[in-house]
Amino acid sequence: MLAFIVRRALQALGVLFAVGLIAFAMFRFAGDPVNQMVGADTPPEERLAIREQLGLNDPVVLQFARYLAGALRFDFGISYQFRQPVAQLLSERMPATLELALCATLLALVFGILMGVYSALRRDSALAKLFQAISLIGVSLPTFLIGILLIYLFAVTLGWLPSNGRGETVRLGWWTTGLLTWSGLKALIMPSITLGLFQMTLIMRLVRAEMLEVLRTDYIRFARARGLRTRAIHFGHALKNTLVPVITIAGLQLGSVIAFAIITETVFQWPGMGLLFVQAVQNVDIPIMAAYLLLVGLIFVVINLVVDILYTVVDPRLRVTLRRPA
């Protein structure tokens, strides 16, 4: 068990190291950092001095080590376009992205499970068919089109919800939250739906398939034979057993939600990390791009690691099979 955790943690470190290498390669070799920092009329001697000062003449391995050491202390360099430390820019925008991702995931979980259970229990009803159609549209429609559609309906035509931004935010220490003001909550609705729709259809399909599977098992049949009420069987026995894979997927998807927030944040001009990243790509602001890659890599690796470890804790069968090949 412990050996497994250590091995997985080492693997995760290896992945992070690879991501760090890519981030560093981008940071160092894509374009000339000095050119980005100074004006076109800077004399060559001055450029050389800056190169020396930045350590760009040192061996590449040393530079890589320095970059990683900096990244460990959240020092990702200075943004070309904002002339501010990248870490500060990212941390200012992180609360917006995390709140959005969390709301979207909650929305996807609640509605996905409800719709999935319903369409598994009443497979042939009209409403279940409607849910299936919605899920097909949710998979096919590009995220940004859904966002535009929502903006046109609820912001332009009906005027109910704001079309962009976070609304009023409240400062709690270094964290800014939009959850405590009325306008902040209103601003959160459409982006959350846009971001959560894909995950919702995913969870709905998963719950439906798992429920259909579980309802066929012997212990459900036995529960019926015992004369338990249908509701108790469906929700007490069947749903409970479908939730483990659902929560796993939802957890694993949290990373993708943060990455897909790039699109949603652009549509709604949501001041989060994704919007910062898109602007960085357009302005070739490599330090921000590299730092964002590292950050998202870290989030993905940590989520995967936690899910893996939780799995072995929850499911003793996995521990047995894991011991065998080692």
């Binding site: 992945v15 690879a18 991501v19 981008m26 894509a30 374009g31 097909l136 549209i137 998979v139 096919s140 429609l141 590009p142 995220t143 940004f144 089109l145 535009i148 559609l149 903006i151 046109y152 332009v156 079309s163 990373g255 993708s256 990455a259 897909f260 790039i262 699109i263 652009t266 990243f277 898109v278 960085a280 790509v281 357009q282 070739v284 490599i286 791009m289 890659l293 998202v296 890599g297 993905f300 690796v301 995967n304």
Partner: protein
Amino acid sequence: MDEALSPVPASPKPVSWAGGFFDSDLWISFKRSKVTVIAAIITLLFFLLAIFAGLVAPQDPFDPAQLDLLNSRLPPIWQEGGQAPFVLGTDDQGRDIFSAIAYGLRISLIVGFLGVLFSAVLGIGLGLIAGYFGGVTDAVIMRIADVQLTFPAILIALLIDGVVKSVLGNQIDAWTILGVLVFSIGLSFWVQYARTVRGSVLVEKNKDYVAAARLIGLPAPVVMLRHVLPNVLGPVLVIATINLALAIITEATLSFLGSGMPPTMPSLGTLIRIGNDFLFSGEWWIVAFPGLALATLVLAINLLGDWLRDALNPRLR
């Protein structure tokens, strides 16, 4: 997609599912599914519209000589103020929306097809090598695939796009950007092909025909390409169809985010990006029709892919 699965009323001629000519089975299951037939017709119409854009479109939307500012911001023809040749209205430069869609569709489909082709060739090649040689080669390739799979394709495509542009500089022409898009989409979608092909190769390579081919002294590339490859292509076809829709969406998303095709040679995504600015001034048609075209195209291709997956799967999942 469910139509292909549901039991079908007995047809006059009994059709044997086991055995028989593979193509005819596929054709029969195709004809039985109404949704699939409609999806195929719609996809075909889109392809034709893209190929014959020059003939069908009333104007060449990117020839400034043909644009007239007097015709700018006209609504679709069924609304008050709509004018004769501009069926779906015009944008702020007097550009016919229908013509713009036809030409944009062309770009979207070119990027989609080339992207799928590139990722398929890359993925199939690496999958064949990994499965056939095994050992360290296999481990290295599949490890890279694992790492890449943890990141969403759109993020990888954005990163590659940004890096390539920073290397090439900002002054690059539209065709180079198209190449960059194909490159980044191809690099972000190869993993699925590689995994599938590797899995099938691991099964195939222990069969007698591979041993026979090796015994008569054929070199490894010939065994891989001529003997193993044809036997692992079935699932690849399904992935390629579904990935065509994904590639088109990815290209549209990149263009929408401003990292894709420029307004001088727009794809559907660029058209939506441009049209999005007119949403608040009430000119909804500038964004709505390109959006509708994109959504319909992707939905139709997805339906085709779903059907193909079920039809090619003997167990029908």
